[in-house]
Symmetry: C2
């Protein structure tokens, strides 16, 4: 069994181009598959993951062993670990993707020009998608499922910590595709851990249509800095909640607590509060008590510290920080306009919320805040493909090109214009 | 008058950041303008261009003088030259943009989640758009008009050949905005001709949301190589026409002649022919005669050269070349599948056409060719925002993210999700 999951470090220059070429061949084949063929293959792949769980666990055991030897923290080891249940969840994820409607082939628009040309805007796969991601091995199956359902070929570059687990999952998925009569090059994986190979991958414009990094701010920055392939930037979330003068205090405490502490290390968690001057006396004592019960450190400006004790003074740097931790910054403002200006200065264009009973201020905030998702009276934690009802999610886009906010299947497609004429020439 | 159009070389590091900051301030103001305010300002700007034509002509005369002194070719001098008529056409362009519907604010979709969250997908401006372009000064007014109508702030970096003309146009437009009570920073221009300033501009992620290069392949490559700001790649077109076995020969000759010679230096011109083995005897003599009448050099494979005399043997390099000249490459194939494979190998994903009377082959070609616009029985020259009925065009995208093919006003927008709740938290 160990042979099967052996990690071959043979990528290098030629291997990478070879993968690119194979992905391009695969993308044409995948674009031509019917929805039925794709869904059958996804279910077969799910079955294969469960059926070959022992192989996956054996590969994962080697990654865990290496992680422990390298002194990996328990939380990271837990992220890395596979179990029968987690493998079952991965397989279930593929079946759920099979159940979703296929966006490919949708006719988005048709129009006829005065000269008789019939123009059809048709939804098609992006082509070859590159995904660069960190530890968690379930991303391997998940990213494959989403790309495959939308007729795309995917080249994956996972973290070196999970390389044996990822390679084992890739092997199982490729075998399942082959058994279904579908090109296994729908999924390929870069197993070379050399940084220069990853950098070259980011510049493979001849083969790769889109690059999606999934991981921490450092990974995303490295991709944006180095890629020539178009990138969809994901993930960094310095999310704000503004408590307006007229907010319902009970609702505010409940929402802030949820957004800050329900899950601490995620991009849609709240990192910063903006509080209207005229509600601080009513809001802050109850809020501080609730946050402290959850061991949240409060870093606040002077006007907040007038009302509650024991806060750390906040700095400019705090306002710009995505803590992903039990820390929250707080700023006092005198108007919704000041709140909007503050948020637009420090946010990462991800998700921001206003809590208010004033409809006019709600509309001002919705219009004025520059973010993918802007909320009125709800937790920022809802920025999520599943919560939005997309049934799946490849990431949260924080850029403005192509897709913004949660990206589901549709966001993994593009369009082409099919134009039918009968001899038209341009005059 | 000369003072007004003086080119100040004071951009440098600080000036560039300052421009970025001003553009960001402007984008919030512009996003809040009504359609009526924008349309009035566009018409006022048009009037100002006509009213101050003498200033523009004086500035242009200096560019032309410098161009002549530097030995600029007559065709380039003609591209650079402004006349009263050309200024009138620029102004007319702004009025046409004013007449188009405003895409900003459109509700693209609404849906309610089981937990009661009401999600609205709303069309909004991209924000700050950077445009890097070459010679022709009319692009200055045109790009401003399109960006302004869609509520975006624009920072322009034009070619140094036209710098005095561009600066004069910018001055007139800024003055017109100011007179309308609108921030003149809706349009700013980088006047520094230092290459390093342009490179820094491409990396101003803190201020610029999208970069659109408009120009030749070299310019576009430089932007793609250096930018960290998301880029919409435009323009390069190695467009193919495939003449299938069943094509109407008269129609084929007419379409190919149009696509190759109606305008030679444009991205939607035909650069390469693919001919079905079984039509070459019927097609090629008539086609070669028509092309030669227009002085088109034919570079062809052996099977073509068997039928017509005087062709240059074609090379692999020819197949990959966008000539933008009176040259065409020709390849013979035995099937529509071979044609599709050849085209996908060498095209630039811009525009390709099949000429055929066989409906099945037409559909195969529409589905199989990976390009922004795929045609049946029509000239590739129709890939154009005006010909598609968009009423305007900022460029032709040859990438797959965000927009593909002709980009009009809609393609200069993105969306945000406005989410309304009544206390929802995530469980």
């Amino acid at each position: 069994m160990r042979e099967e999951i052996k990690v071959e470090i043979i990528d290098g220059e030629d291997k990478l181009s070879e993968m690119g070429k194979r992905a391009v061949m695969a993308k044409y084949a995948l674009a031509a598959l019917t929805t039925g063929q794709k869904d059958r293959a996804l279910r077969a792949a799910a079955e294969a993951l469960n059926g070959r769980a022992d192989e996956l666990l054996a590969a994962n055991a080697l990654d865990l062993e290496a992680g422990r030897a390298a002194g990996m923290r328990p939380a990271m080891l837990d992220r890395l670990a596979l179990t029968k249940e987690r493998i079952g969840a991965m397989a279930e994820g593929l079946c759920q993707i099979a159940d979703l409607p296929d966006p490919v082939g949708e006719v988005m628009e048709t129009f006829t020009r005065p000269n008789g040309l019939e123009i059809e805007k048709r939804r098609v796969p992006l082509g070859v998608i590159g995904i660069i991601y960190e530890s968690r091995p379930n991303v391997t199956a998940d990213a494959f499922g989403l790309c495959f359902k939308t007729g795309n070929a995917v080249i994956l570059k996972g973290g070196s910590d999970a390389i044996r687990s990822n390679a084992a999952i890739e092997t199982v998925l490729r075998d399942a595709l082959t058994a279904e009569g579908i090109t296994p090059d729908a999924i390929q994986m870069i197993r070379d851990t050399d940084r220069t190979v990853t950098e070259r991958f980011m510049r493979m414009k001849a083969y790769v249509d889109v690059l999606i990094p999934r991981g921490g701010a450092g990974l995303i920055r490295a991709v944006v800095e180095n890629a020539t392939v178009p990138v969809i930037e994901t993930g960094t979330g310095n999310c704000h909640i503004f408590v307006d003068e007229s907010a319902d205090v009970d609702m505010a405490v409940k929402i802030i607590l949820n957004a800050k502490t329900q899950r601490i290390g995620v991009c849609n968690a709240c990192e910063s509060l903006v509080v209207h001057e005229k509600i601080r006396q009513r809001l802050l004592p109850a809020l501080a008590a609730a946050l402290r019960e959850k061991h949240v450190e409060i870093r606040a400006d002077e006007r907040v510290r007038e009302v509650i004790d024991g806060c750390t003074p906040v700095t400019e740097e705090d306002y710009g920080t995505e803590y992903l931790d039990y820390i929250i910054s707080v700023k006092t403002v005198d108007s919704v306009e000041e709140a909007i200006a503050h948020i637009n200065r420090y946010n990462t264009k991800h998700s921001d919320a206003i809590l208010t009973q004033n409809a006019e201020n709600a509309e001002k905030f919705l219009a004025g805040v520059d973010a993918a998702c802007v909320y009125v009276n709800a937790s920022t934690r809802f920025t999520d493909g599943f919560e939005f009802g997309f049934g799946a999610e490849i990431g949260i886009s924080t850029q403005k090109l192509h897709a913004r906010g949660p990206m589901g299947l549709k966001e993994l497609t593009t369009y082409k214009y099919a134009v039918r004429g009968n001899g038209q020439i341009r005059g």
